[in-house]
Structures are given as structure tokens and as C-alpha cells.
């Protein structure tokens, strides 16, 4: 009897220990968030003791490593936005088109072939897209528009756009597939063509999912690093010409880190300030994506 009791107790302690360990594991994800916010913002606060906030947000010159130092982030911000807009122009129509095709038109057999192909496209490392942009897209651009520079925003943004097509496609398709078939059948029963069902019934009904897919994809484009580091250039100048060399926020961070940055220098703090801004932008966009889904979701 005594032994059995002992065994039971040991069992209970074991169960309790395991639950505690698992809870600790789960806590690591919270710690990660806290650590991200803390590291980014503690360095950023020190950064703003040395650089005025007004200069940072409104200055048009970015030369943090060269004397005279200027810390206007606008050139980097505009560069990032150019990449994001260019990528959207590619990814949104192609991604949405693929999603409508896969969800409404494609026969099962074709779907089975195309979906894995799109997954391969999504699984290709961004460094490979960067290589592709520099050695394939840029030469084509230069052929048609000879004034294109070797490093340019257009080529990088096309590559980023291609990279996020599968993301737009699969998230939008999920939203369309979630619409009950009865709604589709109802529209067909009224004599609609597939085109009418897709554009007047399915897309409007899935709009919240599609919208949030777009926002998430753009957020991903803003955070994309290696493509722009390879193909977009390293010139933080304020320009709106996509055929010129630019620098994005992420491109700057990589570029500085390739050198040996010492803890406590202004370069080190600058990287964290830019990183904090990048984090805030993508975080806000991810929240917006979630709000779109929650707010405009049609319940069936």
C-alpha cells in the first residue's frame, strides 16, 4: 500500500514538473516580445538624446557614418516605400488572379500541380531572389530603359513582388475557399457565369481576408532585406525615380552591420533606431490586417 501511494505521489510530482516546464517554454515567446521591444527602444531612447527627433523624421539627408553627420530618415523611408509600392503592383494583381483561378476555376488535378509549385516559389530564400534581380531583371530593364542604373529600386521591387505573390495567393485563396459552397451554387442557379460568381459574389464576400492578405504582404515587403541589400543599391538619397540606386531601412541596417560595429557608438544606436521604426511600421500593419479580418468578416 505504502509503495503504491509513493508511486502515485511521484507521478503527481512528475506531472506537475512537466506542466511547469511546458509553461516555461510557452513563456519564452512572451519573453521574446519583451526583449525585442526593450532592446530596440532602450537604444533608440539613447539615440534620441544625441539626435533631435525633428531632424530624424523630417531631415532629408542621411549620412550617419560620414562627417558632417545627418540623421534624416526620409531617404530610407521613401526608398522602403518605393520597394513596397512596386512590389504591391506586381504581387497584388498576380496573387489575387492566381487565388481566383485556384479557388474558382482550376480543376482539382491542375490545382494539385500548381499549389506545390507556388509553395516552391514561396520557399525560395530571398538571397536567391536578390541574385535573380541583379543578374536577370536588371539587365532586362536596362535593355528597355537604358538609363537604368546597375542597382535600382525597380528591379528589387519586382523581385520582392514576385517573392510575395505566393503569400497573397494562398491567403486570398484560403479566404475564398472558406465561403460556403451554397452561396456559390445559389449564384449559379440564378444563371451567373463563373466570372460573375467570382467577381460579384466570391471576391466581395472574401474581401476582408483578401484585404488582410494584402496588408500582410506589404508588411512583408517592407521588412524584406536581402533582395534590397543586393539589388537596390546603397545610396540613401531622396529620389522618387525607381530606376536609380536607393537604400531602404533594412538595406541600411545590413550595410552597417557588415562592418564591425562597436557597442555604444552612434552607428550602433542608429541601427537600432532604424530597426525600431521598421518594427513599429510592420507591427502596426500586422495589427491593421488583423482588425480588417475581425471587423469585416462575413459570418456564415
Amino acid at each position: 500500500m505504502k509503495n503504491e501511494q509513493k508511486r502515485k505521489d511521484r507521478g503527481r510530482i512528475g506531472e506537475f514538473t512537466i506542466e511547469t516546464i511546458l509553461r516555461f517554454f510557452a513563456g519564452i515567446s512572451i519573453l521574446t516580445t519583451i526583449a525585442i521591444v526593450w532592446t530596440l527602444f532602450s537604444e533608440t531612447i539613447i539615440f534620441f538624446k544625441e539626435v533631435s527627433i525633428t531632424e530624424f523624421f523630417t531631415g532629408t539627408k542621411w549620412t550617419p557614418t560620414l562627417e558632417p553627420r545627418h540623421f534624416g530618415i526620409l531617404p530610407l523611408f521613401v526608398g522602403t516605400m518605393m520597394i513596397a509600392i512596386g512590389a504591391s503592383i506586381i504581387a497584388l494583381p498576380f496573387g489575387l488572379g492566381s487565388a481566383i483561378y485556384l479557388s474558382e476555376y482550376a480543376p482539382k488535378r491542375v490545382r494539385k500541380i500548381i499549389k506545390p509549385l507556388l509553395e516552391i516559389l514561396a520557399g525560395i530564400p530571398s538571397i536567391v531572389y536578390g541574385f535573380f534581380a541583379l543578374t536577370f531583371i536588371t539587365p532586362i530593364l536596362q535593355k528597355f530603359l537604358p538609363q537604368t542604373q546597375v542597382f535600382n529600386a525597380a528591379s528589387a521591387s519586382i523581385a520582392v513582388g514576385i517573392m510575395i505573390i505566393p503569400m497573397v495567393a494562398s491567403l486570398s485563396e484560403d479566404a475564398m475557399m472558406a465561403i460556403p459552397d451554397s452561396i456559390r451554387q445559389g449564384a449559379y442557379a440564378l444563371g451567373s457565369t463563373k466570372f460573375e460568381v467570382a467577381t460579384k459574389v466570391i471576391v466581395p464576400a472574401a474581401l476582408s481576408g483578401i484585404g488582410s492578405a494584402f496588408v500582410l504582404a506589404v508588411s512583408r515587403a517592407i521588412g524584406e532585406t536581402m533582395i534590397v541589400a543586393i539589388a537596390a543599391g546603397q545610396s540613401p538619397v531622396l529620389t522618387f525615380n525607381p530606376l536609380k540606386s536607393i537604400q531602404t531601412m533594412t538595406g541600411f541596417m545590413v550595410n552597417i552591420s557588415l562592418g564591425d560595429i562597436q557597442h555604444g557608438t552612434i552607428e550602433y544606436k542608429t541601427v537600432f533606431a532604424v530597426g525600431a521604426m521598421l518594427f513599429v511600421i510592420t507591427f502596426v500593419m500586422n495589427i491593421i490586417a488583423k482588425m480588417i479580418v475581425n471587423r469585416y468578416r462575413e459570418e456564415y
Partner: protein, 299 residues
């Protein structure tokens, strides 16, 4: 001779209307078919471009040589070793952490409580954080604060945090798919929760967990940006022998070669990409095979 009665005119109008609508449908169909084809066309072009540029430079020497200033002599030995080190450690850290967190969320924590909701929200937000930001976290915490320096360990820990949300979400889905009846049956035999988890839940969920984890780890294999932030070097001419050694990985070596102006280096960059993509293909193939093998056994 057809009589142009009102009815006939109506019929003609109607058929014209239908024809236009059908034509619209066909035009739309061609457009979206083209849109879908575009992605696949680009995939083909990309593979062609890389094979065309790099295949001639791929050789045993290329895999067995250290990097060099001369493209003819340069190889990826140290980068390949670094990648294997980093990825092995990342897998070692991230798999138990990810599966453990998923188990906690699905089997232990009460659904709908604030803690569960907070964890869930937090994980989905972490999944959207750009990878370079994880690099900054790694730089501040692992490299500087914990003094791991620019080592394999710092890199692997950084990548672990990066892919953790992906593994957690995939494992959660797999664990959720375990039928309640199986669990109840196990409990009815009088076994404890943990015994149910190891004896029933995990074996059933394993294919899903493994597939998700392998995909996440292969994503880590292609990451360069966070490792550049934690200070992986561009040029390493020795093989790392402990987790505290400095290192480089394949994607960074490729980046380094791509950034050089000489054409030859672009060629060996392409050869490096072929090796990287072959590794990824191997990992994904393994994931698919594992899934198929275990799925058959379970069904």
C-alpha cells in the same frame, strides 16, 4: 425569312447579352490563367538562370575548397560546415521549445483565459516581425548581453526565436487534429495526462509536427539577414569546431560573392545557390516522405 416580331428582337438581344457575358468570362479566365502562369514562368526562369550561370562551376572541388580571392579556387566548405552547425543547433533548440509551447497551449492551458489569448496573440504577432529585427535582438541579447560573441551559438539562438512561431502554429494544428475520442479512451484506461500525450497525442500528431518543423528549419537555412546582424562573417577560412566559434553560412557566402563586381564571382554565387537549393529540396522531400509514411500508418 424571319419575322421581326417583338419577341424575336427580345430573343436576339438576350442571346447577344449572354454572348457578351460568356465572352467576358472567357477573357477573365485567360487573364487569371495568365496571372497564375506568371508565377510558374518566373519560377522556371529563375531556375534556368541559376543553373545556366552556376552549373558549370559546380564541382567536388567547389564543395571541398575554402573561400578564396580567386574565383577558380573558391569553395563553400566553411560555409557549408557553418550552415550545418547553425541549422543542427537551431533544430535542437527550436523543436522541443516549439512542440512544448504548442502542447501547453493545446493540452494544458484553458482556452479562452487571458493567458491563453495573450500567448496566442503574441505568437501571431511574432510571426509577422521581420527577420532582420530578430537579428537585432540576437545582437543585443546573445552577442552583447550574454557575451556569446559572434558565434554559432548566437546565430542558432537567433534563428530559433525566428522560426519558433512557425513551429508552434504548425504543431498546434497537428495536435488539434488528434480526435478527442482517442484521448478519452486513453484517460479511461487510467493513465496520466503526460502518458496520454506521449502515448497517444504525439504519435498521432507527429507527421504534422515534423512537416511544419522541417519547413520552418529549412526557412532558417535560407536566412541571411538576421545572421549578418549577429555578426556572421563574410569570409571564414577555417572549419568551426565548437558552438562558440565564429562562422559563416551558405546564404551569407552567396551574398558576399553576389556583391562583388567581377562576373566570375556571380558564377560561383550561382553555384552556391544550386547547393543551397539542393539542400532545401532534400529537406522538403524528407518532410513530404515523412508525412506520407506516418500518415499511412495512422490511417
Amino acid at each position: 425569312m424571319e419575322v421581326r416580331t417583338e419577341q424575336n428582337i427580345y430573343k436576339q438581344k438576350k442571346s447577344r447579352n449572354i454572348r457578351i457575358r460568356k465572352a467576358k468570362n472567357i477573357i477573365f479566365y485567360s487573364i487569371i490563367l495568365g496571372a497564375t502562369g506568371f508565377g510558374i514562368l518566373v519560377l522556371g526562369l529563375l531556375l534556368y538562370q541559376i543553373l545556366k550561370t552556376g552549373l558549370a562551376w559546380l564541382s567536388i572541388d567547389f564543395i571541398m575548397n575554402m573561400p578564396s580571392r580567386f574565383p577558380q579556387k573558391a569553395g563553400i566548405k566553411s560555409a557549408l560546415a557553418g550552415s550545418i552547425w547553425v541549422i543542427s543547433l537551431t533544430a535542437l533548440f527550436s523543436f522541443p521549445l516549439g512542440v512544448g509551447t504548442a502542447l501547453y497551449l493545446e493540452e494544458y492551458s484553458q482556452k479562452g483565459t487571458w493567458l491563453n489569448k495573450l500567448l496566442q496573440l503574441n505568437i501571431s504577432n511574432l510571426a509577422g516581425v521581420p527577420s532582420i529585427v530578430y537579428g537585432m535582438l540576437g545582437l543585443a541579447v546573445f552577442v552583447k548581453m550574454l557575451q556569446f560573441e559572434r558565434s554559432i551559438l548566437s546565430g542558432a539562438l537567433t534563428l530559433t526565436l525566428l522560426i519558433l512561431p512557425v513551429i508552434i502554429v504548425a504543431s498546434q494544428e497537428a495536435i488539434r487534429s488528434v480526435p478527442e475520442t482517442l484521448k478519452q479512451g486513453s484517460f479511461a484506461l487510467g493513465v496520466t495526462k503526460w502518458q496520454t500525450i506521449t502515448g497517444v497525442v504525439l504519435p498521432y500528431a507527429l507527421p504534422g509536427i515534423l512537416t511544419g518543423s522541417i519547413l520552418a528549419i529549412s526557412r532558417a537555412m535560407g536566412e541571411a539577414a538576421p545572421l549578418i546582424m549577429v555578426g556572421a562573417a563574410g569570409y571564414v577560412a577555417f572549419l568551426p569546431s565548437s558552438p562558440l566559434d565564429s562562422f559563416t553560412v551558405l546564404p551569407i557566402q552567396i551574398f558576399n560573392w553576389t556583391s562583388r563586381p567581377q562576373e566570375e564571382f556571380k558564377n560561383i554565387a550561382a553555384a552556391g545557390i544550386i547547393v543551397l537549393m539542393a539542400l532545401l529540396l532534400f529537406a522538403n522531400g524528407a518532410a513530404v516522405m515523412l508525412r506520407n509514411k506516418y500518415q499511412n500508418r495512422m490511417d
